[in-house]
């Protein structure tokens, strides 16, 4: 169970039609790989974010599988073309079954 997991997202509030905007996302998470051992030699169980998705108005635009080698606090930055006013929805899936969500409105002017 990961503590203090907090998603952060930066999306421009406005864009012109069909503009390509840059979206930055970061989630604070230890991303314990499952490869390490504690002082007593016991394996520290794997606890990572294993999937990240971004949707725009319900349409899936990014779907990423995360592996144990990805470092603490995974950061994704990507560009997206915005055809219309709508909402980006970001979802992170944790090994422990938790799902973290964040969404941001983009207005096309």
């Amino acid at each position: 169970m990961a503590d203090n997991v907090k998603p952060r997202v930066r999306v421009p509030k406005t864009a012109s039609k069909d503009e390509v905007i840059t979206i930055k996302t970061l989630i604070s998470h230890p991303m314990e790989s499952g490869q390490r051992k504690d002082k007593d030699g016991n394996v520290i169980p794997r606890s990572i974010i294993n999937r990240f998705t971004a949707e725009f108005n319900g349409e899936l635009v990014v779907d990423a599988t995360l592996e144990p080698a990805i470092s603490t606090n995974p950061y994704f930055e990507f560009d997206a073309r915005v055809p219309e006013t709508g909402e980006f929805k970001f979802t992170w899936y944790d090994d422990d079954g938790s799902v973290y969500e964040d969404s941001h409105q983009v207005e096309v002017t």
């Binding site: 203090n4 907090k6 952060r8 930066r10 930055k24 970061l26 604070s28 606090n73």
Partner: protein, 287 residues
């Protein structure tokens, strides 16, 4: 044929030397603008007390770092220190200790009450002792909150000094060096010019005589501390002022003085005063 070849090599060598020199100087063609809004000067006229030791200008360490590292500091989203700042802002509002009080219970909002504080640290307290920000925090924790003191270089402490420091971002460093601070400042100055360790190196050997040059692969800055605590890419974590001092003394192959010691607080005062006029960049990013 042979003559031609020699001339060519000399020309190549000259070009290489010119390039190295250009890289070594503080970067001139970049401007530190945080989040596209807050413009920050990264140089300032050198203080009178330096007596020309650093030339006419003092430069932030930001000017000695690579393009990518400089870019990370320009955007708070990309600056990993803000994860730590966020953690401290939560701690600010969370009661701790036997008195059941949080920082906010006495100080209210961190943005108002802590504004400008970083720029004056370290300073002489009302008992005549030289205190760093860490001392003030632990004084609050032990005497007002009834909580346990934080270790000087503990994560909690560095989170909090970063969160307090960022409230002064963009304000010029202005530590007091006269009056009751003068004796501490003199001792700090003496330490700055004292050679340590098997390598017999003083702070000044690198950060005054050789800033802009390389020591092996490291690009030496003036050793300014206006961006601390900062994110160090090499350590993948926050680094405090005294932590860096310990690292420097260790690198001379000397026996280090402890973080939080009287000696290092005096050195902190002196080093901070060398950057008087530079703006607070806390929390900076360096490599």
């Amino acid at each position: 044929m042979k003559l031609q070849f020699t001339v060519k090599s000399a020309a190549v060598l000259a070009v290489t030397l010119a390039l190295t020199a250009a890289q070594a100087d503080p970067v001139e063609d970049d401007q530190l603008v945080i989040n596209g809004e807050l413009e920050m000067a990264t140089d300032a006229p050198a203080s009178d007390h330096l007596d020309g030791a650093l030339g006419d200008s003092v430069y932030s360490g930001w000017r000695f770092r690579d393009t990518e590292t400089r870019a990370m500091q320009k955007d708070d989203f990309d600056n990993p220190m803000f994860l730590f700042v966020d953690a401290a802002l939560e701690a600010w509002d969370t009661p701790d200790g036997s008195a059941g009080k949080s920082c906010a219970d006495c100080h209210n909002g961190i943005d108002e009450s802590m504004k400008g504080l970083r720029a004056q640290m370290p300073k002489v307290n009302d008992k005549g002792e030289l205190w760093s920000l860490e001392n003030y925090i632990n004084d609050c924790r032990t005497n007002r909150m009834g909580a346990e003191a934080w270790g000087w270089n503990s994560q909690n402490m560095k989170n909090m000094t970063a969160a307090i420091g960022v409230q002064s971002r963009g304000m010029p460093v202005a530590v007091k060096i006269d009056g009751d601070a003068a004796p501490f400042w003199e001792k700090g100055k003496e330490m700055y010019y004292t050679r340590f360790g098997q390598l017999e190196m003083s702070c000044a050997n690198c950060h005054e005589d050789n800033f802009g040059n390389y020591i092996r692969s490291d690009h030496l800055s003036q050793g300014q501390i206006n961006g601390f605590p900062l994110y160090r890419l090499k350590d993948q974590g926050a680094v405090s002022i005294h932590q860096r001092f310990v690292g420097c003394v260790r690198d001379t192959r000397g026996t280090t003085i402890e973080a939080g010691s009287q000696e290092f607080r005096e050195l902190e005062l002196y080093v901070a005063s060398r950057g008087n006029g530079l703006v607070v960049e806390t929390p900076a990013v360096r490599h």
